[in-house]
């Protein structure tokens, strides 16, 4: 190997080792500090050096160009680094200075049901910025795994798990009697009816899921109990059973519309793992109003540089698989039929 090629190779190895050490260091300090650390100016120099060295390597080693797998891998890495830097916070600031592209890097927006908004609270600052279009939230809902279960336990440790089906009676054996779910409430409240307190399902905003349960003892004596999802253990039981009601969330869904002027230009129900892409941004289900379910919180992320990174991912994957697997398989097949 030529001396200068050997130097490039050594430098490459050195940078790989340095990045390994930095990654391990980053793993010790936690995600938030690591993100800050890897985005600092000295690290930007490191990223630039790595990308430059890869390019120099491709120029210096003819094999890195001639062998397609090697070219794809190394060029793929250059794209990943370039796309990552271009899409970073610093990359966005640079684009603002150089090309006056003033894009939001990342932030969050809260939208109330039925209303539309275009204000984004920027991550890491107290600033707000506006998008050139608005998002309207038609509806926000939470879905639960079905069936939902009521759990019953006696003090002796016997347990039952019955699906919540209103009106259906379940036998609990000869000693315990039967149990029936009389009503399921989304927003349990107690009001006055003819001078007596009576529970009702309040349609106004709020959330207090509960079940009305009737337990009939073997001797025919029936008693009503209420079980609250948010207040476990807070059920008026007569001492024989403890009941619990807990639903497992399967999804959070925001039904969104994109509004430009007064025209709806796009529409999508976003959920976890299914973001909305529009106008150079990706919108993610991030959080919600856990008290009343009235608003959703979306994460807004710029897609600048993203597709360059994805192209790099494809090249790296295809390159590695071609160079280390397929090439050999094809060679084997060829030599078999020669």
């Amino acid at each position: 190997m030529h001396k200068y090629r050997r130097t490039i190779m050594w430098l490459g190895l050195l940078l790989i080792i340095v990045l390994t050490v930095l990654s391990i260091y980053g793993a010790f300090i936690g995600a938030e500090r690591a993100e800050h650390f890897f985005n600092q100016p000295p690290l930007a120099v490191f990223w630039m050096a790595l990308a430059t060295l890869l390019i120099v390597g491709i120029a210096a080693f003819r094999r890195l160009v001639r062998i397609p797998g090697l070219l794809l891998m190394h060029a793929g890495c250059v794209l990943i680094l370039a796309g990552g830097m271009w899409g970073s916070h610093a990359g966005h600031n640079l684009q603002k200075k150089l090309f006056r592209i003033d894009k939001i890097h990342s932030g969050r927006m809260a939208i109330y049901e039925g209303s539309s908004d275009n204000r984004v609270a920027l991550d890491g600052t107290r600033e707000q910025k506006e998008l050139p279009f608005s998002l309207k939230l038609k509806d926000f809902r939470i879905e639960y795994y079905q069936p939902v279960y009521l759990r019953i336990q006696t003090h002796q440790g016997r347990q039952w798990k019955i699906p919540v089906e209103v009106g259906k009676e379940f036998p609990l054996g000869d000693e315990a009697g039967t149990i029936k779910i009389v009503k399921a409430y989304e927003n349990f409240k107690v009001g006055m009816e003819e001078g007596k307190s009576a529970p009702f399902d309040d349609p106004s905003p709020g959330s207090n899921p509960a079940l009305e349960v009737q337990i009939t003892e073997p001797n025919g004596q029936a008693a009503t109990q209420y079980v609250f999802e948010r207040f476990p253990g807070h059920s008026h039981n007569q001492g024989k059973f403890s009941l619990s009601y807990h639903r497992v969330i399967s999804d959070y869904i925001s039904e969104l519309q994109i509004v430009e002027g007064d025209k709806i230009v796009a529409e999508k129900d976003i959920e976890v793992n299914h973001p909305l892409r529009f106008g150079g941004y990706h919108f993610y289900q991030s959080s919600y109003d856990d008290k009343a379910g009235q608003y959703t919180v979306l994460q807004v992320v710029s897609d600048t540089g993203l597709y360059v990174v994805y192209a790099g991912y494809w090249m790296l994957c295809i390159g590695v698989i071609w160079h280390l697997w397929l090439r050999h398989i094809f060679k084997r097949i060829q030599s078999k039929y020669k």
């Binding site: 190997m1 050997r6 190779m9 050594w10 490459g12 190895l13 790989i16 080792i17 990045l19 390994t20 990654s23 391990i24 980053g26 793993a27 010790f28 936690g30 995600a31 938030e32 690591a34 993100e35 890897f38 990552g84 990342s106 795994y145 497992v248 969330i249 399967s250 999804d251 959070y252 959920e271 976890v272 793992n273 299914h274 973001p275 990706h282 993610y284 991030s286 994460q299 992320v301 993203l306 990174v309 994805y310 991912y313 790296l316 994957c317 590695v320 698989i321 280390l324 697997w325």
Partner: protein, 263 residues
């Protein structure tokens, strides 16, 4: 740590026992009986996977318990390494089979899980499966690296590669899977959390393990077989970082991060 007093648990423990017995028998120079026990273990592992499939009524690759259960059927991978790659170490493969079933038997819960929203993605299975398969290959490579350091060579009649060459060949097999796991994970992170790279400890450890093997490949390109011991140490270091990635971050809860639900 939990012991499973169920048919599923019994099947897993029987497989582990068969693999361990096969391992000991092979070490005692009874390769035929060892191989028979290994096959027996494999048959029980297949039954165990089939039983799970019947029990949950979907392909059982939804959670880590099921993925490890699947990995317990390691026999075809060993066969592949021996026949195609000409790399062999039956005894070690048997031990690896028992090791990968250990988490399914004693660590992960077998209750059919309801997945939290972030885990409901088509990427879950390929991401985890790519990683698990790459880890198995890297474990096999590490074993070969230890053989190289200890000077254990295959018998002349066996038509197998030397431990140094075996290490390299298996790493070449596992590295694309490691790359695929990392990239699929990153793409999934983008869909679920909005970022393809979150600087989360688990991500950084997995990047570090990928980088160690990348370093190995470049080092071996530079020096070939000139420094076989350093090559081996490099492979062992990679495995050490993988073990930290897989276990330390999940189980110790020293670092709390986005991936902590994966326990």
């Amino acid at each position: 740590m939990e012991i499973k007093y169920t048919i599923q648990g019994l099947l897993i423990y029987m497989t582990i026992a068969a693999y361990l017995l096969a391992f000991v028998t092979t070490l005692l120079r009874r390769p035929k009986s060892g191989h028979f026990l290994y096959l027996l273990g494999f048959a029980i592992a297949v039954c165990s996977f089939g039983y799970r499939w019947y029990h949950v009524r979907h392909v059982p690759l939804q959670n880590l318990f099921e993925v490890f259960l699947c990995l317990g059927m390691i026999y075809p991978v060993s066969l592949f390494c021996r026949r195609v790659l000409r790399v062999g170490s039956d005894a070690a493969d048997m031990l690896i089979g028992a090791i990968v079933l250990f988490p399914a038997g004693f660590i992960f819960h077998a209750d059919p899980q309801q997945l939290p929203p972030a885990l409901q993605s088509w990427l879950f299975i390929p991401h985890v499966a790519a990683y698990m398969f790459s880890y198995i290959f890297m474990l096999m490579a590490t074993f070969q690296a230890f053989c190289q350091l200890a000077g254990i060579n295959p018998k002349p009649g066996e038509n197998l590669l030397s431990p140094e060459e075996s290490t390299y060949r298996i790493i070449c097999m596992g590295f694309p899977l490691l790359t695929l796991g990392l990239i699929l994970g990153s793409y999934w992170g983008k869909l679920a959390w909005g970022d393809y790279w979150g600087w989360d400890p688990k991500e950084l450890w997995s990047l570090a393990s990928w980088l160690v093997f990348l370093g190995y490949l470049h080092f071996r390109y530079m020096f070939g077989k000139k420094h076989p011991r350093i090559n081996s140490l490099w492979a062992i270091a990679g495995m050490a970082v993988i073990i930290i990635t897989l276990l330390w971050v999940n189980l110790s809860r020293i670092f709390s991060g986005l991936h902590s639900y994966a326990t």
